[in-house]
């Protein structure tokens, strides 16, 4: 999932405009919460899974991409089954699976550049009202996508270094150096973004 932002490709889902895909995802997600019939929800999950498969991703790859969310969904199903009732479990599980498949299909077929461009355009009206700076907001999204994997990797390195020194694993012992490193990195990255000329000039669509 860390790697869940798509490559460019040529499947029908790849070719759909990003704005349309995001709007459809939002609509489907909302609609799913008004439906309680397990048969309809199972159908929705199957359709979403086929949509996901149509992006060229194999079932095995899908299973490994979504291992974590699917485990959580399964656990929720068990909790519902034990503490609530069968009917609740039978609607919660396919509903969340449908959502996870649909969301993954969108991220797999949308590159970061498309996502941030769309985000920036969608924020345009709010920017004109003076509420947000769309360029900055979309850069923040990009930075999260780019640096979250690096920070996860750093956490692993810190844990390994501590294990090598014979320290047991304690969350605080990882979090403190991780926060320090992340703050230092944030300062350097902020400098690099400035050095590369951000923010773009106001009329950045005009030819130079």
């Amino acid at each position: 999932m860390i790697d869940g932002i798509g490559r460019s490709g040529a499947t029908p889902l790849h070719r759909l405009p990003t704005g349309l895909k995001l709007a459809a995802l939002a609509l489907v997600a909302t609609a799913l919460f008004f439906v309680d019939r397990p048969d309809v929800l199972v159908g929705a999950a199957l359709v979403a899974l086929l949509g996901l498969r149509s992006t060229g991703r194999r079932f095995r790859e899908i299973a490994s991409d979504l291992a974590l969310p699917m485990t959580v969904i399964a656990a929720l199903g068990v909790v519902d089954l034990v503490f609530v009732d069968v009917a609740t479990a039978a609607s919660v599980v396919p509903r969340l699976l449908a959502l996870a498949f649909a969301a993954h299909a969108v991220t797999l077929t949308t590159t970061t550049a498309e996502l941030t461009d769309t985000f920036e355009r969608a924020l345009g009206p709010f920017e004109r009202l003076g509420l947000v700076d769309a360029g900055r907001a979309s850069l923040t999204l990009t930075l999260a996508l780019r640096f979250v994997p690096l920070i996860v990797e750093e956490a692993r390195e810190i844990r390994e270094a501590q294990a090598a020194r014979g320290l047991g694993s304690h969350p605080i012992a990882v979090i403190v150096p991780l926060v320090v490193r992340t703050l230092v990195r944030a300062q350097v990255v902020a400098d690099a973004i400035d050095a590369r000329g951000f923010p773009p000039p106001r009329n950045s669509n005009n030819a130079k």
Binding site: D3, I5, R7, S8, T111, T112, A113, L139, T142, L143, L145, R146, P149, L150, R185, V188, V189, D191, A192, I193, D194, A195, R196, G197, F198, P199, P200, P201, N203, S204, N205, N206, A207, K208
Partner: protein, 246 residues
């Protein structure tokens, strides 16, 4: 493509293009960073094609590069880049002067190579149509056009360094500032980068602990505690640095 040469310009269409150069002036520049003196009364005129900077850790080398593009402002004195003030006219200076950071992971902003190059181009006002072409051309200059669609986190350290450099070259700078460019590279990638650097027509100002990298530079500065303690030919500067390092 036809080039019209004004009469008396003294340059024919067959002449190689003018090598990119800028004149960078430091006039009694001091920089204080959190109470410590990072640069202390530096006066320099930098106009050569190849300038090296050496010095021990904390001697002010990175700070000197950062003042050139206005990331750090002098607390006293004045810096100009071809007459522009990097603090007040940061956009203009950063369009002609690129800084390659020590760790390319901190410099590359987008997860995909081509998107990252597009980021810098967009910042400098290039249109979408020109962006693709310029990004491809910059990657091709470094022989890495095949990386355009790759994800940054799948690249090796050497490849990331080249992608970061391509991101600078794409915006057509006149001057490139390198901060310890080989410190994170293995020997093969180091040699590859050294060869590429030697072939760049741009003006280069290079901070390095890797002294061999600077051996044939026209001019090398030695920094110590924020002051320029030697300024001259590479061999003499490197000898001076070795002696002072002990």
């Amino acid at each position: 493509m036809s080039v019209i040469v004004p009469a008396g310009a003294g340059r024919g269409p067959g002449d190689p293009p003018e090598p990119p150069r800028q004149t960078i002036l430091f006039d009694a520049v001091a920089v204080a960073r959190e109470g410590r003196v990072a640069l202390d009364g530096v006066t320099l005129r930098l106009a050569e094609a190849r300038i090296g900077i050496v010095g021990l850790n904390g001697s002010g080398k990175s700070t000197l590069l950062k003042t050139i593009i206005g990331l750090v402002a002098p607390s006293a004195g004045r810096v100009t880049v071809d007459g522009l003030d990097p603090s007040a006219q940061a956009r203009a200076v950063r369009a002609t002067t690129g800084l390659l950071f020590q760790n390319p992971d901190n410099q590359i902003v987008f997860p995909i190579v081509a998107d990252d190059l597009a980021f810098g181009l967009k910042n400098h006002g290039w249109s979408k149509a020109e962006t693709r072409e310029r990004a491809q051309a910059a990657l091709a200059r470094l022989g890495i056009e095949a990386l355009a669609a790759r994800r940054i986190h799948e690249l090796s350290g050497g490849e990331k360094q080249l992608v970061a450099l391509a991101g600078l070259l794409a915006v057509a700078p006149k001057t490139l500032l390198f901060d310890e460019p080989t410190s994170q590279l293995d020997l093969r990638n180091r040699n590859r980068l050294a060869r590429l650097m030697a072939g760049l027509p741009e003006q280069l100002i290079v901070v390095a602990h890797d002294l061999d990298l600077l051996a044939d530079f026209e001019r090398v500065l030695v920094l110590e505690d924020g002051r320029v303690v030697f300024d001259g030919a590479a061999a003499a500067a490197i000898a001076c640095h070795r002696e002072r390092a002990g």
